[in-house]
Structure formats: structure tokens, C-alpha cells
């Protein structure tokens, strides 16, 4: 294991200490718990948006806490859910009387804990609604969408919900828009190499030399096809085909595209892939409103990438285009 760390069991807390030291004007923690992260400033009277999940995916999840995006995040151990308790503390800290929307990925541990947190919030009369993001088409077939893993597409859900809350819309309305984004996004990924959880110290799965795994999840969940490394163009074709057929995205549709690096894969390769993605979408008559290329949801040092499409309509487009400014994500008006 080649990592910059001190004691593996201190990894997450030391990372958080570094984050608070680096961004003291933007982020703080509540309840004396580094893992209960909230915005240092906040817009009064706004619906609160909170997320949470395991560490090891930066900028996911906490990186989207900031202006125009979300308000708080409970932080788990590497690939571990934070506790209901922590989620509840964040909820209390960001509620401004307008209620709080939870947005999180479709993982057992997270669901149970957010459910528990919502029960706790209910007992304190904080109105909580939940949006579970699950859009990895490789993780479950059509018809069983509710079983799908949440991966990089959650970025779009944050962005839409964040912009909606910023417009001072109601909790119900923010949820409606977040649900719409979640329903209109599809993702698929491919992995070339594993990653190492510091406390485990060695990869918990392997991908052989010269092999790639199509559809692998961001914690190494199995994909749908393990086989010899394909070219960038072939890979793009497989990802686009599967995603486009699933929703389906159709001729005349307008989409936002996200080409997400999982960690070790350089930006150069993401652009080589996008070249083909753009060509295929263009041929299919699907137009691209904007493409995001970079590390949006990672698995530490895993090599690989994922592709997400978000189908847009006027209201989603308007919200997606709004600026955002967090320590990890900056966007000028599109």
C-alpha cells in the first residue's frame, strides 16, 4: 500500500483536519465531531440539503457543501456509512425552519442510517424528505431500478437541488426537482485497477493485467463484463449504448454529460473517451448542453472512469446552469 498517511485508522479524521485547516472560511463542523461537516456561512431561510456517505470518494460527498450546492454532510469511514446520529446532528445544524432534504446514494448502510436520522429529526419536529440516488445501469436491470447503486450522477442531483434551494423554493419543490434529476440521470463505469482501503492495507478485489471490468461499482462491486482491455472508442461505445438504451435517451433530447475519473485515470484519457462519446451522441441526434470532465466521484486511486447522462428540460437546464462555489467544485454561470 503506497499512500500518504500516518496511521490508517486516523486517515479520515486527519483528512478532515486538513480540510478544515484549508477552508476555514467555508467549512466547519458541529457537535464537536469532525465528521459532522456543514457550511461555515449559510443563506438564511433556505431549505437545507444534506448528504452523507463513506469517505474515499472526494470530491464526493463533502466536496459539494458550499454556495449553490448543499449545506451539510456527515462523513463516514472509508467506504462506510456515517452514523444516524451524525446525520441527525448535521440535520439540526442546517435546518432553518424550512426543512431538510437528504440526498444520498442507494446503499444499504446509508439508507438505514438516513432512515434512522429522519426518525430522530421527526421527533424534534424537523421536516425531512429524502431522495435516494441510484443510477448505475450496470448494477441492476431495467425494471429493477430501485436496486441500482448511486454513483457519480448524484452530482447532478446536488447541483439541481442546490440551485433550487438557492431560489428559495419549498422543501417539496426542491425534492420534486431533485427527484426529477435523479430520475433522468444514468451512469455506467469501467475500472482498470483496484483501490486500497487504508485500514485493510491491500486491494479487496483484483483486476488482472490487461483486463478491464465494465460496470464495476465505486467500491469494487462486480461489473457485468470482465474481459481484455478495450480501446477508448470501444469503451465509449459500450457505455453510451447501454446508457442511452436504458432511459432511453432519444433523438432530439438535450443532455448534460459527465465524464468522471475514478482516481488514477488522467484527464487526458477522459478527453480521449469524450471525443467518441460526443461523436456517438451527435450521430444519435442527442445534443450536449454541457459536458463536465474531471474527478467528480472517485474511488481513491482506482483507475477507471464513468459516464453519466442527464436528460434536461428547461427547468433542469436553468438550475444546472447556475453558478456554484464550494471548496471542491466551482462553476460560473453556464
Amino acid at each position: 500500500m503506497k499512500k500518504f498517511l500516518n496511521k490508517p485508522e486516523q486517515f479520515v479524521d486527519e483528512m478532515l483536519e486538513g480540510i478544515y485547516l484549508a477552508h476555514p472560511d467555508k467549512l466547519k463542523y458541529v457537535n464537536n465531531d469532525l465528521r459532522c461537516l456543514v457550511r461555515a456561512d449559510s443563506k438564511k431561510g433556505k431549505v437545507g440539503i444534506s448528504t452523507g456517505g463513506g469517505s474515499g470518494h472526494l470530491p464526493l460527498f463533502l466536496g459539494y457543501v458550499g454556495d449553490g450546492m448543499i449545506d451539510g454532510c456527515s462523513v463516514g469511514g472509508v467506504f462506510q456509512s456515517p452514523s444516524a446520529d451524525q446525520m441527525f446532528e448535521v440535520t439540526k445544524a442546517i435546518d432553518q425552519g424550512q426543512g431538510v432534504l437528504y440526498i444520498y446514494g442507494n446503499y444499504g448502510g446509508d439508507i438505514m442510517n438516513f432512515d434512522m436520522a429522519a426518525e430522530m429529526a421527526d421527533m424534534e419536529d424537523i421536516k425531512v424528505l429524502q431522495v435516494v440516488a441510484g443510477e448505475d445501469v450496470a448494477s441492476s436491470p431495467k425494471g429493477e431500478e430501485h436496486k441500482r447503486r448511486g454513483v457519480a450522477g448524484i452530482f447532478f442531483v446536488y447541483k439541481i437541488a442546490g440551485a433550487a434551494a438557492d431560489k428559495m423554493l419549498s422543501l417539496e419543490e426542491v425534492k420534486r426537482l431533485a427527484d426529477k434529476a435523479a430520475a433522468n440521470v444514468r451512469t455506467m463505469g469501467v475500472a482498470l485497477s483496484p483501490c486500497i482501503v487504508p485500514e485493510i492495507g491491500k486491494p479487496s478485489f483484483t483486476i488482472e493485467d490487461g483486463q478491464m471490468e465494465i460496470g464495476m461499482g465505486i467500491h469494487g462491486e462486480p461489473g457485468i463484463d470482465k474481459g481484455p482491455l478495450k480501446t477508448a472508442d470501444e469503451t465509449a461505445q459500450i457505455l453510451v449504448d447501454k446508457i442511452v438504451k436504458d432511459l432511453p435517451y432519444e433523438k432530439g433530447d438535450e443532455v448534460a454529460v459527465l465524464v468522471n475519473g475514478l482516481g488514477a485515470t488522467p484527464k487526458e484519457e477522459l478527453y480521449v473517451l469524450y471525443r467518441k462519446v460526443s461523436e456517438i451522441l451527435n450521430k444519435a441526434g442527442i445534443s450536449v448542453f454541457h459536458v463536465f470532465v474531471g474527478e467528480i466521484a472517485t474511488s481513491m486511486e482506482m483507475a477507471g472512469l464513468s459516464l453519466s447522462l442527464l436528460k434536461l428540460d428547461d427547468e433542469l437546464k436553468e438550475l444546472l446552469a447556475k453558478p456554484a462555489d464550494t471548496p471542491f467544485y466551482k462553476q460560473f454561470q453556464l
Binding site: 456515517p82 444499504g108 448502510g109 462491486e221
Partner: protein, 212 residues
């Protein structure tokens, strides 16, 4: 009929901690097959927290102590199994609230509430290849035994047998929940790590009663 005092539960929680620590590497290994290899870490952390809490607990209310142990577990290990254990102990403890002495009937009501907590929180059904598939049959046996006013040790021996059979059955099932569900058909034939945890719970109680 035998009575269990708060000291027994402190001892049982202590044994549970030892068992989870002993099984740390084994649980890591089997969770690594279709999961994320954390089960050994989380169960050790959860039961260490529970045992620490129990050790420090100075009242004689068994139910409250177990509830608090559950809260400590879900804070210490917010993974699927940690949260389920936390929920189980919280709900089970609630069923024993105020009690300083426990018999098999009470113990059944603990496990019944524990099980209901798991089903509520996890939303998995019997047959979905989870901890439920080893624990639920064991709890059914405990109901029977409690109705028949059995002794603790033989009752738990039977429950353990049911849990062990449950592990076998779960092995043959296709996972519908948790990380293993992504393996679909391929999950058949592979042991479900959660079902092992269920069995370890019952086994630890059983072993404790044996040595009494």
C-alpha cells in the same frame, strides 16, 4: 426457572466482544468475497463499544443498558450490520426496559423485538439471504421453547441448531440486499456473512448458558 441478572448481560456482551474479535479475520474474509471486507472490523468495533458501555453501566436496568449498548453500536459502526445490531439491541432493550431480572420468556421478547427491528430497519424479507435467515429461525425456536418453559441452555442449543441450518439455507439463496445482491445468481452457494453474525450471536448466548 433460571434468572439472568445485569451481571450476566455484562458478561454476555463481553463474550460477544471476544467472539467478534476472534472472528475478525474470518468475517473480513467472507465479507470480502462479495462485500467490502469490513464486517470483521465493524463487528469488533460495535461489540467493543457495547461491552465498554455495559462495563461502565452502574444501574441495574437490563433493558436500558441493552438499549444504550445498541446506541453505542450504531455510533461505533454505522455499516449495514452495525446499524442492524444497533437497532436490534435498541429495540430488544426497549422490550426489557426496567427489568433487573430476566427469564427465558423475557429473553424471547428481547429477541422477538430485536428481530422485528431488523426487519423494520433493513426491509429485507426472509429468503433474501441476510442475517434474517439465520436469526429468524432461531427466534422462532426460542418462542416455542419459551412457550414450553424450557431451560435456557437446551432452548438455546435448539435455537443454535436452527441458526446453523439457517446459515446453510442462506448459503443456497440468491442475495437480494446489500452488496452481494450485485452478484445476482452468482451469489448462490456463497456463505452470507450476515447470517454468520446471526449464528455467532445465538452461539455466544448458548455457550454462556452452558458454562453456568
Amino acid at each position: 426457572m433460571e434468572k439472568l441478572l445485569i451481571s450476566d448481560f455484562k458478561e454476555i456482551l463481553n463474550k460477544l466482544k471476544d467472539v467478534m474479535v476472534e472472528n475478525r479475520d474470518y468475517l473480513i474474509e467472507i465479507d470480502g468475497i462479495m462485500g467490502d471486507s469490513d464486517l470483521g472490523l465493524t463487528m469488533s468495533a460495535a461489540f467493543t463499544a457495547a461491552s465498554d458501555l455495559a462495563e461502565d453501566y452502574s444501574d441495574d436496568d437490563i433493558g436500558t443498558m441493552l438499549s444504550k449498548a445498541g446506541m453505542a453500536m450504531s455510533k461505533a459502526a454505522p455499516s449495514t450490520m452495525g446499524t442492524l445490531m444497533g437497532t436490534g439491541f435498541m429495540r430488544g432493550g426497549k422490550a426489557l426496559k426496567g427489568k433487573a431480572e430476566i427469564n427465558l420468556k423475557n429473553l424471547y421478547s428481547f429477541w422477538d423485538a430485536f428481530m422485528t427491528g431488523l426487519l423494520d430497519r433493513g426491509k429485507a424479507k426472509i429468503g433474501d439471504k441476510t442475517i434474517n435467515d439465520s436469526l429468524y429461525p432461531a427466534v422462532l425456536v426460542l418462542k416455542d421453547e419459551s412457550d414450553r418453559n424450557s431451560e435456557l441452555y437446551p432452548a438455546f442449543q435448539k435455537a443454535l441448531k436452527a441458526a446453523e441450518e439457517g446459515v446453510e439455507k442462506a448459503t443456497a439463496m440468491q442475495a437480494q440486499f446489500g452488496k452481494a445482491a450485485y452478484y445476482g445468481e452468482k451469489s448462490r452457494g456463497k456463505v452470507d456473512p450476515g447470517s454468520i453474525v446471526g449464528k455467532l450471536l445465538i452461539e455466544t448466548f448458548t455457550d454462556y448458558f452452558k458454562t453456568q
